[in-house]
Symmetry: C2
Subunit: 213 residues, 2 copies
DNA sequence: ATCCATTGGATAGCTCAACTATCCGATAGT
DNA sequence: ACTATCGGATAGTTGAGCTATCCAATGGAT
């Protein structure tokens, strides 16, 4: 199909698609002449992936670029993609930030991970995310207590065990990679949404339907 | 304290603090003359809250404005604040979007919530967030299966039950409100971070330490 | 064969969010 | 009395993510 049909079918403007082409998010179509190139279903699927990561996952273009580059790289295998995706998700803490309090929070996280016996790379960005949150909580007068953390740890462990088990080991590479990504990025939003819904429910039951309009 | 001391203690520039004052995120100090105003610990706490919501929760200024306005409104009670905070968190789906597929996704969500018997307001934004994610997943060829959702539902329910139970009913109003907010916004990040860590652990165990650097 | 809408490719511009910088007149403290 | 600082206002900057315009080259319809 031509770019205009790609535009129609994806719901994106031609300009936006050209922008994604420029940025290297979308591979070029097969050129049949100077002024004509053809696109196929793979391009359409790629656009859908980009939009899902942008709109639902709220990832910046730069992060999506890194992810799709890894997706297109035949050499990258499934287990490695998770690391790449997680790195792309951030957060990006400028190195050497914040001094003593930051280092203390990092150490809290490190010792928590060690205590749990989780096999996690030492520079996983999720460590920074957790440390950042610990730091903010402390600053607001809500210091972290391990026992308070327990339900979150259990929930995280249960869900990720389920997710990993669900990966079909015989799926074709592209689909397996996509499945991993989807799990990492989109099901995280599912979890957040369900949590907010459950929270509203719990609050309504406790306070007798407080703020529900 | 004066604005310069507030700047030093919060780590924000004077300009940024002035910006927050202009935007109504930070209440004005008590003016002692045309060119002098004094700020107290409450202002410092407010700045810490703003930064936590911005940096950790990644909320836009507009959402934070709505939240702190509710915080400062003596008439708003704890149960109502949760609704306000959740509304401020978004997402903001432009009404009347996307047509048939969108409506179908919304209905999936509505029937799910009904099936679970959860007491959730009909216009809770979390419904939209979930619908949006369902839609994206379907577009990528990963349709939602209720059984796949089960672990997420259970996790969400367990966590929010814990959170609601943890609210001390005798805490002073300001602190109770803050606690609710913190739970909603910051512990969500804790959950995400733990999930990513757990996922990396599960993947490492299954594939023999794949991408961990 | 001709002609005009469409395409690919390049470049420049726009919009929004979140600050950041400058200016100005008043004043507090020395 | 004087000068660094403050509050308040206004304007400018930066980065992300598009969006619009231009241009020469088609290529399908006539």
């Amino acid at each position: 199909m031509r770019i205009s049909e790609l535009s129609d079918r994806s719901g994106l403007t031609v300009q936006t698609i050209k922008f994604y082409l420029r940025e290297g998010l979308l591979p070029k179509g097969t050129a049949t002449s100077t002024t004509r190139a053809y696109y196929d279903e793979r391009h359409l699927r790629r656009l859908r992936l980009i939009r899902a990561l942008r709109e639902v996952g709220d990832l910046p273009i730069a992060a999506i670029t890194r992810i799709v580059t890894a997706l297109d790289d035949e050499k990258i295998e499934l287990p490695d993609l998770l690391g790449i995706a997680q790195h792309a998700l951030g957060p990006y803490i400028p190195p050497g930030a914040d001094g003593a309090a930051w280092r203390a929070a990092k150490e809290d996280v490190d010792s928590l991970v060690a205590e749990l016996g989780w096999l996690v790379g030492p520079d996983a960005p999720a460590r920074d995310l957790l440390a950042q949150t610990f730091l903010a909580l402390r600053g607001l007068g809500f210091p972290i207590v391990l026992t308070e953390l327990r339900p979150y740890i259990d929930a995280a462990a249960a869900i990720s065990a389920h997710e990993t088990a669900r990966l079909a080991p015989d799926a074709p590479r592209e689909r397996a990679l996509l499945g991993t990504l989807v799990t990492t990025v989109l099901y995280e939003q599912v979890l957040i949404a369900l949590h907010r819904l459950a929270q509203e429910d719990a609050s309504a039951r406790r306070f007798g339907n407080g703020g529900a309009s």
